[in-house]
């Protein structure tokens, strides 16, 4: 791959020039992509033991990256307003850059691969557009929203796409035939984060008005609404472990993390447990796949590991710089964290 191979399986830290904005693991856990506020994109290949800088510092941020579910493509979007794609031939094979696709919708910061297949949803202004990796074309289906798309998410089975803007949440089944019109729900403010639970089909929306909305059945039915968070609710993560009813949900608002668990199906059945520890804004949170372990990363320069009961198990530090991003390897045994001065760390988590 690169001219100078580096043994990254022994390298636990590295640095880009600018703050790290996004991290992603390939589905097989052999590749990692790291993006920065300067538009750098670094690909680490663990099996081949090498790394390649797919893009250097060009002073225009990349903000969302991701591998397709089969690991065939890597995508990145950001400040330049283009969708960047690389075709990956597997470990040890040099990635092939496709021609950048301009969307003409300003700064792009939300895009997500469908959990199955090769469809990529990209938030472009007031639209959600779909790029199909099979045909390498934009799909004719477009979801229109009344405001700029703030967040999007696929359901675990890939049948449903949720997208939010100020005042509306839209649920879309782009692959259904015939496709029903999008189901549109009015919301009191803007949904800043969306997440479907990996099991049990719940949908959570973190709102700008410091509230959390939770729908029991894929956005249908009456949502539970929880307000009174200390700041806007931007980050959400579902555990893949089953709780007593629904899986646990972690939510970040300002410097506070709240762990929600469902104890009965009534209107008061959800119980919040505040995890108060971070001294600055929480910028990322993620449950380890296959384990009841939550990682939270903060501008205070720490990553905290919490067990399923909300007890702090361990805190990790880099070199003092704040943390912007987190990503668990699919095996749940390795945690990657990115800092606000460009350094990244990879920790094996026993």
């Amino acid at each position: 791959m690169a001219a100078e191979p580096v043994l990254v399986n022994e390298q636990l830290s590295g640095a880009l020039q600018q703050p790290i904005t996004a991290l992603a693991w390939s589905p097989d856990g052999e590749l990692v992509a790291i993006a920065s506020g300067g538009g750098e994109l670094l690909l680490l290949d663990f099996r081949a033991g090498c790394e390649e800088l797919l893009r250097g510092d060009r002073d225009q941020s990349l903000d969302a990256i991701g591998f397709s579910s089969d690991g065939q493509f890597l995508m990145a979007v950001g400040q330049a307003g283009e969708l960047l794609l690389w075709e990956l031939g597997g470990s040890g094979v040099r990635p092939l850059a496709l021609e950048p696709l301009a969307l003409g919708a300003g700064w792009l910061d939300a895009a997500a691969w469908r959990p199955l297949g090769l469809l990529l949803a990209v938030a472009a202004g007031r639209e959600v557009r779909l790029w199909d990796g099979a045909s390498r074309q934009w799909c004719p289906q477009v979801l229109d929203l009344p405001g700029t798309v703030q967040a999007l998410a696929w359901s675990a089975d890939g049948a449903l796409m949720a997208a939010s803007c100020n005042g509306e949440l839209a649920l879309w089944q782009p692959l259904a035939s015939p496709a029903p019109p999008p189901f549109r729900l009015a919301t009191a403010s803007a949904g800043l984060g969306l997440a479907f639970s990996p099991r049990a089909g719940l949908l959570a929306a973190g709102q700008m008005d410091r509230s959390l909305l939770l729908w029991p059945e894929l956005g249908q039915g009456t949502p539970w609404q929880f307000s009174g968070f200390p700041a806007k609710v931007r980050l959400l993560a579902w555990s893949d472990q089953l709780g007593s009813l629904a899986p646990p949900l972690a939510v970040a608002s300002g410097d506070t993390v709240v762990l929600w668990s469902q104890h009965d199906t009534g209107s008061r059945g959800w119980r919040p447990q505040p995890l108060l520890w971070h001294g600055a804004r929480v910028n990322a949170l993620a449950f380890a796949p296959g384990r009841p372990l939550l990682a939270t990363a903060s501008g205070d320069g720490t990553v905290a590991l919490w067990d399923g009961n909300g007890a702090l198990r361990q805190s990790l530090e880099g070199d003092g710089q704040g943390f912007n991003a987190l990503a668990w390897r699919p095996d749940g045994q390795h945690l990657l964290a990115g800092g606000d001065q460009g350094r990244w760390w990879l920790w094996p988590v026993a």
């Binding site: 506020g37 300067g38 941020s61 300003g106």
Partner: protein, 327 residues
């Protein structure tokens, strides 16, 4: 809602908001800011892309999008596009020292201003430095009745009377007087081709409470309400007797609850009964902020000075309400 934050002003990134009706010279001023040797790295957010003649990675386009924050109250609004774009930009804050936001000629400045006091992230990370409004001396009277023109004048901390080469001194003075009637608090500058010293428009710190009030000296002497020719006007209230903070607080809360959309900006230096320190106050629509300031200086004239800029101001009612707040 107070608009203070726990994060010290010096740690927050200063933001200048550039407004002005179409053709007032915003783009010329923006290009000056970007090319001036002031040693600042300036990031710019524009709503009318393609006008800035400088190739700069830190010129970013945003589509104006207004979010209501308070059950549809027409004045409690923020700019959702700025929250999103600045949130992205702030991840790279070590790459620039100052942020300039250029609004469209038809924009109401209030949602932009309120964004920096209402949004959780932005209020901790940024500091609104000043609203700079350009006035086209040649054409402003043609658009005088436009709501946007009056709002842009009313919200300004710095008023730049531009295109001075296209009018004579009598015309300029007449416009200055009408501008002053709407906004007696702003720093007033006159320019040709938007050529002004950068330190007059960047680093103004107009929203820092200790700079709450710097009135045109003639204004308070004048001591009558300034609604000469527009629905938007200003009112100066002066009280020699000490005031009662509780009474004043209740009156102001009630006032903004009832008239918030029409009250653009208020600023005041308050003399409180039994207090050696000045109390300073400011507001933007329904956002109120007040705090104790430095002690009165020996020989300083201890009195309360309070200025209200708004639409359809009921001068008699405001005077009566204010006078009733005496200790």
């Amino acid at each position: 809602m107070a608009f203070s934050t726990a994060v010290p002003a010096g740690e927050r990134l200063p933001v200048t908001v550039l407004t002005g009706y179409l053709g007032a010279g915003k783009t010329t001023l923006l290009n000056r800011i970007l090319t001036h040797e002031h040693g600042l790295k300036v990031a710019v957010i524009v709503n009318e892309f393609g006008e800035v003649g400088i190739d700069n990675q830190l010129v970013i386009d945003a589509d104006e999008e207004i979010f209501e924050m308070n059950n549809g109250c027409i004045c409690c609004t923020v700019r959702g596009d700025l929250i999103r774009i600045i949130g992205n930009l702030m991840k790279r804050r070590d790459r620039f020292d100052h942020l300039v936001i250029e609004t469209t000629g038809l924009a109401d400045p209030a949602p932009v201003i309120q964004t920096f006091f209402v949004d959780d992230d932005l209020r901790d990370e940024l500091r609104l430095d000043a609203v700079v409004t350009l006035v086209d001396l040649r054409h402003v009277l043609q658009h005088w009745q436009a709501d946007e023109v009056q709002e842009q004048l009313a919200f300004a901390d710095v008023l730049l009377l531009n295109k001075a080469d296209l009018v004579d001194e009598a015309e300029r003075a007449a416009i200055e007087q009408r501008v002053r009637a709407i906004n007696p608090m702003a720093r007033l500058l006159t320019s040709t081709n938007a050529d002004v010293p950068m330190q007059q428009i960047l680093g103004v710190e107009a929203f820092e409470l200790e700079r709450a009030l710097s009135l045109d000296p003639g204004f308070l002497v004048d001591d009558h309400d300034h609604e000469h020719d527009a629905t938007v006007g200003s009112l100066a209230l002066v009280e020699e007797r000490p005031m009662d903070l509780d009474k004043l607080g209740s009156w102001l809360s009630e006032l903004v609850a009832q008239r918030g959309p029409d009250l653009f900006r208020m600023k005041g230096i308050i003399q409180l009964a039994g207090e050696d320190c000045r109390y300073v106050f400011q507001s933007v629509h329904m956002l109120l902020d007040g705090d104790f300031d430095r002690p009165w200086k020996p020989g300083e004239r201890r009195r309360t000075e309070f200025v209200i800029i708004g639409r359809d101001l009921d001068a008699a009612g405001l005077r009566a309400g204010f006078a009733a707040c005496g200790a």
